[in-house]
């Protein structure tokens, strides 16, 4: 058995015959020509054919892998229509009086070199696109049909690297996995593997010869390894692992699209927590009913100066539009304590966890707060945004927030800028807020319990300090009692209450939360379907009886 390591692009296990894909690169000879015009006509015909081929590939890709992945072929068409590229080819043909093949190959090399020398991973990767279109033209000029990957059975494709046109020409039903020697996480092979949800490795240093070709292989997308010629016992082990994985996957897939409702008819909203706009895809893939906690901090943390209103507006608008009519709860700036931004120039504190953070910064620096609120209210016109304020300890703070909100709305109205009316709620993450939750409930639209901080403040235990592990009990009755109390206060005033801390994803507590009447759980996207499974199997009334 030979083992090779690479970088995993997508998890899962693939077992099957390995097929090594070898490119037959177009051989280009430089020959002198007599008639530049007819050579140019030959080039333009090839270009027309190329654009037509790309249109067919685009149509095929559109059906198989969706618009986002098909777009590359539209871009390839534009590249073939690009004046810079065509002028370069024409110039070489005319001035050097050489054949079109040579002019295309030279232009392709030059242009791909521009991209490969760029200081940007994504743009460097585009050199492959330039090579791909140039190879296409050469194949047409040479009268060859280009190479196709031939396989009569399901195989693991092993290649140096695959061009987008090569991956699309593959019969998807016959590909178990991709393993490439080169390529990056941005390469088309990687993107395609993720879209197809099949295991794939890149940057794998394995030989592309008969020691691998035709042999049995196992690709493990979890640990980024490919095993060639596995022994019997190992094969058995991996087959079993694959079977278990597929079972789990199927089970979760059957849960997609189902309502979150218990056997006795109690409903709960299952939302996703996200920390970046990039996470939106996983939110939708995991069938989240909305976003329960959008941490707006990333907009502030990944930079050296305050983000502008316009910048924030665009981000919030994108999220609201992407989630369509689903609720998107955006938490206002929550920095301080362990999350620091240099440009806020905050003084060093003795005890940052109990210090200048979250809403306390917003209320003492209203100009920063107002910029964010303006962006949020404006974006609310584009979807179902809700705003959530962190670290509340008093009714006075909520009233102060409302005053600022009124000022913001008045200004927007005066300026004639469109805005929506988002729901506004608060995070319950201090024992103080829990104890006055009955009062707070009269002033807001919803509660979301931040169990991480609430637990830390209730038990007076710093969770980062591992020495305290033996004293730390995440299911401490004090915390559970507080959650029950908050839910009760909320319901008495006719508002809803959810949980957005880590505890929300704890499957051992799902039934307990249901019995308390928690209206919403916001968890990491991957936790949604497992929780749905528990909800669907729960009978709340029976659970309550069993606990008595």
């Amino acid at each position: 058995m030979q083992i090779y390591s690479g970088k995993s692009v997508f998890g899962g296990i693939a077992i099957g015959k390995i097929s090594v894909y070898r490119k037959d690169e177009q051989q280009v000879k430089r020959t002198r020509i007599e008639d530049a015009d007819s050579e140019l006509a030959r080039y333009n015909q090839a270009r027309k054919d190329g654009i037509e081929q790309l249109q067919q590939l685009y149509d095929k890709a559109l059906k198989e892998v969706g618009e986002a992945n098909a777009a590359i072929f539209e871009i390839h068409q534009m590249m073939l229509e690009d004046d810079d590229y065509n002028e370069s080819v024409e110039n070489i043909i005319r001035t050097q009086m050489v054949n079109a093949e040579y002019a295309v190959a030279t232009t392709g090399d030059n242009f791909s070199h521009i991209f490969s020398s760029m200081d940007d991973d994504y743009m460097r990767e585009r050199a492959a696109d330039v090579k791909d279109i140039s190879e296409r033209l050469l194949a047409i000029l040479n009268g060859s049909s280009g190479n196709q990957i031939q396989a009569g059975e399901k195989v693991i494709i092993v290649a140096d690297d695959l061009a987008p046109s090569e991956t699309v020409q593959l019969d998807k039903d016959l590909v178990l996995s991709f393993v490439t020697v080169h390529g990056s996480l941005n390469s088309h092979t990687a993107i395609l593997a993720r879209t197809m949800s099949i295991p794939a490795l890149i940057g794998t240093s394995l030989p592309l010869d008969d020691t691998v070709d035709g042999k049995l292989g196992i690709v493990d997308g979890m640990n980024g390894k490919i095993y060639v010629d596995p022994d019997e016992a190992f094969l058995e082990e991996m087959l079993e692992k694959q079977r278990q994985e597929q079972e789990k996957k199927q089970l979760l897939q059957t849960l997609k699209g189902r309502e979150n409702i218990t056997l006795d008819g109690q409903k709960i909203m299952l939302y996703a927590n996200i920390g970046n706009i990039k996470d939106l895809a996983t939110v939708l893939q995991n069938d989240a009913g909305g976003i329960g906690l959008f941490r707006s901090e990333f907009i502030y943390l990944e930079r050296d100066d305050y983000p502008s209103e316009e910048e924030q507006f665009q981000i919030y608008k994108t999220v609201a539009e992407t989630m369509a009519s689903k609720r998107v709860i955006i938490r206002t700036l929550d920095i301080g304590a362990d999350k620091q931004c240099d440009y806020f120039e905050m003084e060093k504190e003795e005890n940052p966890a109990l210090g200048y953070r979250a809403i306390r910064i917003c209320l003492t620096r209203p100009e920063v707060f107002k910029t964010q609120l303006r962006a949020l209210f404006r974006a609310s016109a584009y979807g179902k945004i809700a705003i959530m304020y962190p670290m509340i300890t008093s009714v006075r703070e909520v009233c102060r927030i409302q005053e600022i909100v009124e000022e913001v709305k008045k200004e927007l109205l005066q300026q004639g800028i469109e805005f929506g009316e988002p729901e506004q709620g608060i995070m319950i993450e201090t024992p103080a807020a829990v104890l006055i939750s009955d009062e707070l409930a009269k002033h807001v639209d919803f509660f979301s319990i931040g169990t991480n901080d609430l637990t830390q403040y209730t038990l007076a235990i710093d969770r980062q300090n591992t020495k305290l592990d033996e004293f730390y009990d995440p299911h401490h009755p004090a915390v559970l009692k507080m959650i029950a109390m908050v839910v009760e206060s909320a319901h008495r005033e006719g508002i809803w209450a959810g949980i957005c801390g880590e505890l929300g994803a704890d499957l051992e507590l799902t039934q307990e939360f249901l019995s308390m009447g928690v209206d919403e759980l916001s968890v990491s996207p991957g936790s949604i379907l497992p929780i749905r499974k528990v909800v669907l199997e729960t009978n709340v009334e029976e659970y309550k009886k069993s606990r008595k």
């Binding site: 590359i72 539209e74 871009i75 534009m78 690009d82 994504y122 743009m123």
Partner: protein, 85 residues
Amino acid sequence: MREFKYVITDQEGIHARPAGELVKVAKGFACSIKLEKDGKSGDCKRIFGIMGLAVKKGQEVTLTFDGADEDAAYETVSKFMQENL
């Protein structure tokens, strides 16, 4: 001649897809449309010219429109930039 300054907010900058779309939009106008970043300039009707600038998030670009239909081009292209980049 008209000019439009814009700071890119798209996380990925002007990558292949929006560059392609920008070219499509720009080709609908007769006037010259140039995109400039840090003194380097590219023709908005040429995809390699735009991608070659490798414009990233947070960078400011200047678009200049010069020709008979520059006003219409200004409206359409600046709107495209604001909505997509």
